[in-house]
């Protein structure tokens, strides 16, 4: 990796940490620059402004996630479990996704990695539906969105579970049950 590419990667890494903690409005570019060990001006040079940097951090996080997760449309349960495990191991990714819902709504559709990842997932689900391997009572779009929703951990979990998210093993088991119920083909 050249010097410029290495610096860019370091800035993105610092951006993920900073934005995950404070969100876009609360993030401070000078603190972020200090963390990346570069000067503030360079960040603006590479990413334009704070919004540009937030979007790049979100896209980089999504790209890492897509690389880490295999997707087999006939095994939606496995995908849900993999995504859940990833989010548990990378709480900063889970927070970044949440922040963007509030502070950059609609931006996902403008980020090539997200558009492309999503297109491939939908295409695979649609084919599996056509082949009778996945239920067709929900459209591919709806099924994908629902599976992604089930994976998220929310404060509701803490509320019903004495202040903590569900234990990992229990949530994984429930995810299997729920995704199977949603995706099993009609008899």
């Amino acid at each position: 990796m050249g010097d410029a590419a290495a610096t860019r990667a370091r800035i993105l890494e610092a951006a993920v940490t900073e934005f995950a903690e404070f969100g876009m409005a609360g993030a401070r570019v000078d603190r972020l620059a200090a963390r990346a060990g570069c000067n503030k001006q360079l960040i603006y040079e590479y990413f334009g402004n704070k919004e540009g940097l937030f979007d790049a951090a979100l896209e980089s996080t999504t790209a890492n996630l897509a690389l880490a997760l295999a997707f087999d449309p006939t095994d939606l349960t496995g995908y849900a479990l993999g995504l859940y495990d990833y989010m548990v191991e990378h709480p900063e990714a889970a927070r970044l996704v949440r922040w963007h819902e509030l502070q950059r709504p609609g931006i996902a559709g403008a980020l090539p990695v997200m558009v492309e990842t999503n297109r491939r997932l939908l295409e695979a689900i649609t084919s599996a539906q056509a082949a009778g391997q996945i239920a067709t009572h929900l459209s591919a779009e709806m099924l994908l969105v629902f599976v992604l929703s089930l994976v998220q951990t929310t404060d509701d979990e803490r509320l019903v579970n004495g202040g903590e998210p569900f234990p990992t093993a229990r949530k994984r088991e429930a995810l299997c049950t729920a995704v199977r119920r949603l995706a099993t083909p009609e008899p």
Copy 2:
């Protein structure tokens, strides 16, 4: 309503608007006071600090929601639809819930209205499960959390739907299908 109660209600209403837009870190108490037509000092007197006010706004929103929604455990689909319709009509409530996940995680368990509402929901689901009216493959806690997750609209919807959330009629229909699949008793 006495003068003090009316002022308190006006502050809470302004707080919901302010926090829904900017979150807790971004909210400004002076702007909020101007919106409520009272002085800033009074807000601190009534609610202690910004955190206290945020929590009160969240609890008031949840209380309104609980009042607006009937809960029949044998009709979880109806509950999901009612909750979804409420969130569509009250986007500020949906945003407030999202902000609290990021900025006040775990606080729900300290808010009497949320604890009590939740306790009643779980009790009702558990009884319906014991009576064979709801599936038992998921615990009452897990089933409730999953149903609440499905209702949320996320940026994933916009991503798969050309930049917009799913059309209301389509989302309602899919919610019925999904909740029914999760909750229908095992044969």
